[in-house]
C-alpha cells in the first residue's frame, strides 16, 4: 500500500535550540485524502506543516513526496513547484496589489525571470482566474487592492491563490481562525470542494468545524503522534481525553496563538 501514499513523513524530529518541537513523528497521507491535524498548543502541528513545506528543516527523519523525492533537502520554492502549497495562519496576501494581480502571479505557470518578463495573459489563463474569482466569491472586488479586503475575504483570496497554484497537497493552518460563523460555513464549503480533487492537511482547533468532515484525524501531543482515526474514535480515546480534551479550556482561551 506504500505506493499510494503521496506524502510520507518518517520519524521526523525538529529541534529548536535543544527543544524538541517534534519527536519522531510519522504521518502518511494518501492521495485525495483530507486529514485534520489536531492537538493542544505546542503539540508541534504547525511545525509539522513547516517541515513539509520546507520552512523548517528537521534534524532527523525523512519526508518523501510520491515515494521518491526527499523534500527535506529542497528549498521552499522548489517544494512549492513540486506541488505542495501552504497557507499560513495569518492571511498572507500581497496587500498593495489588486485581487486579480494576486491571483495572476500565484497561478500555475513558468516561474523563471525570463518567462515572467515576456508573459502575456492568455485567454485560457484569464478564464481560469475568472473561474477562481467566482469560486471564492470575489468577482465584484477583482480590481480592489487586496489590503482593503476584510479578514475573511483575505483568507479566501489566499485559498484561491493556492488553488490556482494547483498543488497536489494543500497545507492549511487554521483556515477558520478569527472568522465569523457565516464566514466559517463558507470556508467549510470551500474546503469540501477542494478536498474532492486534492490531498489536504488542515491544522485546526475548532472541533465543531472538524466534526463537519467525515475524515481521518491525527492527534499530536508534545511532538508525538498520539492517536489516529475518525473523529469519534479519537474522542472516545482515553489518552486523547486526558491530554487534549481535558485541557480544552486552556486551548480555547489561547486558540489563536497555536
Amino acid at each position: 500500500m506504500k505506493e499510494s501514499a503521496i506524502l510520507l513523513c518518517d520519524d521526523v524530529t525538529v529541534e529548536f535550540d535543544g527543544f524538541k518541537a517534534v519527536q519522531g513523528m510519522n504521518l502518511k497521507l494518501e492521495k485525495g485524502e483530507l486529514r485534520f491535524l489536531i492537538g493542544p498548543n505546542g503539540a508541534g502541528k504547525t511545525t509539522m506543516l513547516d517541515v513539509i513545506c520546507g520552512k523548517v528543516r528537521p534534524s532527523m527523519g525523512r519526508v518523501t513526496f510520491h515515494g521518491k523525492v526527499d523534500i527535506t533537502k529542497k528549498k521552499e520554492h522548489q517544494i512549492a513547484e513540486l506541488g505542495i502549497g501552504r497557507k499560513f495562519q495569518a492571511p498572507s496576501i500581497f496587500p498593495s496589489m489588486t485581487v486579480i494581480e494576486n491571483l495572476e502571479i500565484a497561478m500555475r505557470q513558468k516561474r523563471s525571470v525570463f518567462a515572467t518578463l515576456f508573459a502575456k495573459m492568455a485567454e485560457e489563463e484569464r478564464s481560469r482566474i475568472d473561474g477562481q474569482l467566482a469560486m471564492i466569491g470575489l468577482q465584484q472586488k477583482a480590481e480592489w487592492r487586496a489590503g482593503g479586503l476584510s479578514h475573511g475575504e483575505k483568507q479566501w483570496l489566499e485559498i484561491g491563490m493556492m488553488l490556482l497554484q494547483e498543488p497536489e497537497i494543500l497545507l492549511l493552518d487554521e483556515p477558520v481562525a478569527g472568522m465569523t460563523d457565516k464566514e466559517t460555513d463558507k470556508t467549510g464549503e470551500l474546503l469540501h470542494q477542494i478536498a474532492r480533487k486534492r490531498s489536504v492537511v488542515v491544522v485546526e482547533h475548532d472541533m465543531e468545524f472538524v466534526r463537519n468532515f467525515a475524515s481521518k484525524v491525527t492527534v499530536m501531543h508534545e511532538g508525538r503522534l498520539l492517536k489516529e482515526g475518525s473523529m469519534d474514535e479519537v474522542q472516545r480515546d482515553d489518552r486523547v481525553a486526558e491530554v487534549y480534551l481535558g485541557k480544552r479550556r486552556d486551548a480555547d482561551v489561547s486558540r489563536s496563538t497555536a
Partner: protein, 358 residues
C-alpha cells in the same frame, strides 16, 4: 487590450507634451541652462533605476553613487585618453607612471568604454546581489552593505592615485569621437542623446513594471516569504532587478561626465548616494514619473537656491525636505492622489504601500 479611457488619454497627452518640451528646450533655453538641464536629466535616469529596486521591489540601496560613478569613470577614461592621444594622461606622470596601465588601454575605444560603463556596474551589482540576496540578507542589513561598498570603492579610487587620478578624479577632456566637447553644437547633440536615453529607459522601466515580472517584484516588496511559497525564487528576481538598476545608473554616469566634464570620488561617495535616494523619496517612490521628477526638481532647486543664496541655500533645501516629508508622504507624485482622496473621502481608504526596507 488596454482601453482608451479618458484618464489614459490624458496621461498619454502628458507624456507627449513632456517629450515635446524636452526636445524643443534647446530653442528656448540658453546654452548654460541647457547644460544644467542635461545634467538633471542624467540624474533622472539614475532615479528611475533606483525606483525600480526601492519603490517597486522594496530594496533600499544607498550605494547607487558607485554604480553611477563607475559608469562615469569608464567614460572619463575614454575621454582622458582621447585628450592625451593615447599616451598616459597627465596625472599618471605626476605619480611616476610612464607606461599606460594594461587595463586602461582598451578604453581608447569609445564603444568599449560605453560597454564597460554598463557592464562593470551591472557585474558589481550582480556579485553583491548574489552574495546577499541568496543568503537572505535584506532590509537594513543590505542597505548597510551597500554603504560599505561605497566606502570601499571611494577608498580604492582615492588610494590608487596613479591609476585613477585620486581625489581630483578625471578631468581635462578635449573631444568626444573627434568633436570638441565644449562646443555648443556638441553640447546640444549630447543633450538630445540624454533625452532619448531618458525616454528609452523610462519606456523600458514601464515595460518591466507592467509585465508579470514587475508584479512579482511588487509581490516581493509586499511579502518575500509568501512569494517563495508560491514557487518563485525571490533571490533571482532581486539579483536581476538590482543588476538592471545598476546598469541604468552606469548609463546615467556616462552621460553625466559628458555634460559636466569631470568625475571625482566626491561625486559618487556616501552623500551623493543618499541624495539619489532622497530624489526618489521626494518625487514619490513607486511611480516612475515621480522619481524622475524628483531628481529634476531637487537638483533644479539646489542650483537655484545655491546661486541666489550662497550662504543659506542648505537651509532652504532642509526646509524643502521637511515640507515634503510632512505634507506629502508619498512625494510630489502622490499629491495627485492625495487631492483625489480629499474630494471623495467617503471612499474606503486602502492600506498604503508597506515598505520593508525602511
Amino acid at each position: 487590450m488596454q482601453k482608451f479611457t479618458p484618464q489614459r488619454i490624458w496621461i498619454l497627452i502628458g507624456y507627449a507634451a513632456t517629450a515635446a518640451a524636452l526636445f524643443s528646450a534647446p530653442l528656448f533655453v540658453s546654452d548654460f541652462r541647457l547644460n544644467l538641464l542635461a545634467k538633471f536629466l542624467a540624474f533622472a535616469i539614475v532615479a528611475l533605476g533606483l525606483d525600480l529596486i526601492w519603490g517597486y521591489t522594496g530594496i533600499l540601496s544607498l550605494g547607487h553613487g558607485i554604480f553611477f560613478g563607475l559608469g562615469a569613470y569608464a567614460m572619463a577614461m575614454y575621454l582622458k585618453l582621447e585628450a592625451s592621444g593615447g599616451k598616459p594622461p597627465d596625472f599618471m606622470g605626476w605619480s611616476g607612471l610612464k607606461e599606460l596601465p594594461l587595463f586602461w588601454q582598451p578604453f581608447q575605444s569609445f564603444w568599449f568604454a560605453v560597454a564597460m560603463g554598463i557592464a562593470i556596474p551591472a557585474l558589481l551589482a550582480l556579485i553583491l546581489g548574489y552574495v546577499t540576496f541568496r543568503n537572505r540578507i535584506r532590509g537594513v542589513y543590505f542597505t548597510i552593505l551597500t554603504q560599505a561598498l561605497v566606502i570601499i570603492t571611494t577608498t580604492l579610487l582615492i588610494g590608487q592615485q596613479a591609476f585613477t587620478g585620486g581625489t581630483n578624479g578625471l578631468t581635462g577632456y578635449s573631444t568626444v569621437l573627434g568633436f570638441s566637447i565644449g562646443s555648443p553644437e556638441t553640447k546640444r547633440v549630447l543633450y538630445y542623446i540624454t533625452v532619448v536615453a531618458l525616454i528609452g529607459i523610462f519606456v523600458f522601466c514601464r515595460y518591466i513594471i507592467g509585465s508579470r515580472f514587475g508584479k512579482v517584484l511588487r509581490a516581493i516588496r509586499d511579502g518575500e516569504n509568501r512569494v517563495r511559497f508560491i514557487g518563485y525564487n525571490p533571490a533571482i528576481y532581486q539579483m536581476v532587478v538590482f543588476t538592471i538598476s545598476a546598469a541604468i545608473a552606469g548609463i546615467a554616469g556616462m552621460l553625466f561626465v559628458l555634460h559636466v566634464g569631470i568625475i571625482s570620488p566626491s561625486m559618487l561617495g556616501i552623500v551623493p548616494s543618499i541624495e539619489m535616494v532622497l530624489w526618489v523619496a521626494i518625487g514619490g517612490r513607486g511611480t516612475l514619473v515621480g522619481a524622475a521628477l524628483g531628481a529634476i526638481l531637487m537638483n533644479w532647486a539646489k542650483s537655484e537656491f545655491s546661486t541666489a543664496y550662497p550662504q543659506g541655500w542648505l537651509f532652504f533645501m532642509g526646509l524643502l525636505f521637511v515640507v515634503v516629508v510632512v505634507f506629502m508622504p508619498k512625494g510630489v507624485a502622490g499629491l495627485v492622489s492625495q487631492i483625489k482622496f480629499r474630494k471623495k473621502r467617503r471612499e474606503p481608504k486602502h492600506e498604503g504601500v508597506r515598505n520593508p526596507a525602511v
